[in-house]
């Protein structure tokens, strides 16, 4: 894994109150070395995104996101949700 890479994929967050409970997530390392969790749900219609070498891609309607979950192209128009 390089300086910017995916540490682990598609783990499930523990159930807790709030709208991020039980959302399957990806743990990723950012370019400044922080670790963040990204929702695996595409912000377009909620399909589960897949990771590839360039970041994440939605298999339903083709939205693309970079390795930190920032929207690149496709109908989603928003970044992947960061889970706190």
């Amino acid at each position: 894994m390089g300086a910017l890479g995916i540490r682990s994929a598609a783990s499930r967050t523990p159930a807790r109150p709030g709208n991020t409970a039980r959302i399957p997530s990806f743990a990723v390392a950012t370019s400044d070395g922080r670790s963040i969790r990204l929702s695996s749900r595409c912000p377009h219609l909620g399909c589960t995104v897949q990771r590839d070498s360039e970041g994440f891609v939605c298999p339903c309607h083709g939205s693309r996101f970079d390795l930190e979950g920032r929207w690149l192209s496709g109908p989603a128009k928003r970044d992947l949700q960061r889970l706190e």
Partner: protein
């Protein structure tokens, strides 16, 4: 007497609310729709005991491999549903082309039109119940679109699709085997002219869905998507739109708007009704083009 005998016979006026398109050698289109629905229901009941909403994909594999003729019944269930959808759309076009909606009471017409969205929901729900990547993709899109309904999105999403984060499909299962199926059964029953199915129509529907099963077994994919998800063939046009237009427009406003036009059709003044028919015809043609575009994508 001589005049009457020599005058040409007067052709009886074709009843506008009768059996619909008559293709030589084939049963009336309405009878075929009823037969396809019946076969779909019966084959669904046969595979029902083996299906488990808490482990959808595994239980379908079990039905396909371990239950006697399970693969055949599942295939017939799937293809008779597809046949029902196609025949229902043709039946509706035929009905509109003959302007038969003008002869019906408004309540009856509303029930007839309601058959279309209920059928679409049942079919999408059925695909989601496979529990593979395609199925969960369909469920996600259904959930995402339902959530966009103004004012009731979250409720509609929870009520119609429910949660499937843990890989179970309880809400969809309940609606597929009970709620929506009963609603569709009632909607079909209220407009049947004869409750006993046409044996020829049953034979044709069973033959078509049986042969389709032998030729193309309904696919089951991996549980995780491996590349692009294509969705059901009748939704590739909507997928094409959803990739380009705002989801609320392509997935909610346009379908609801067209359904509302269809609902209102018999009550519109003649001039407006003519425009509405042209609009519906264009929408149908446009969707056929989108089906082609989505298929080659």
């Amino acid at each position: 007497m001589t005049d009457r005998a020599s005058s040409p016979p007067i052709a009886p006026r074709a009843p506008t609310t009768s059996v619909g398109i008559l293709i030589p050698g084939l049963p009336p289109i309405g009878s075929l729709a009823f037969a396809a629905a019946l076969i779909c229901a019966v084959s669904g009941l046969v595979i029902l005991p083996g299906y488990e909403p808490q482990s959808p994909l595994a239980s379908i594999l079990q039905i396909e491999t371990a239950r006697p003729w399970g693969w055949l019944f599942r295939g017939i269930h799937r293809w008779s549903a597809e046949l029902f959808l196609v025949v229902l759309v043709v039946h509706t076009i035929d009905f509109l082309a003959r302007r038969a909606d003008r002869d019906l009471r408004i309540g009856r017409w509303l029930l007839l039109v309601a058959t279309l969205p209920v059928t679409a929901y049942l079919m999408l729900g059925g695909l989601a119940l496979t529990g593979d990547a395609e199925g969960f993709g369909v469920a996600s899109v259904m959930q995402g679109l339902a959530a966009l309904i103004p004012g009731a999105g979250q409720y509609a999403s929870k009520l119609l699709v429910g949660s499937f984060d843990d890989g179970t499909v309880h809400a969809l299962y309940l609606h597929h085997v009970l709620t929506a199926s009963v609603v569709l059964g009632v909607l079909i029953a209220v407009h049947l002219k004869r409750r006993i199915p046409d044996p020829i129509a049953i034979g044709v529907a069973l033959g078509v869905s049986g042969i389709a099963t032998l030729v193309v077994r309904p696919a089951l994919g991996p549980i995780q998507a491996q590349g692009r998800l294509h969705g059901p063939w009748f939704m590739v046009g909507l997928r094409w739109l959803l990739e380009r237009w705002p989801a609320w427009l392509a997935g909610i406003a346009i379908p609801l708007g067209l359904t509302a036009v269809l609902f209102a059709l018999p009550r519109l003044p003649e001039r407006l009704a003519r425009i509405a028919r042209v609009l519906l015809g264009l929408a149908l043609l446009g969707y056929l083009v989108l089906l082609g575009l989505g298929a080659v994508q």
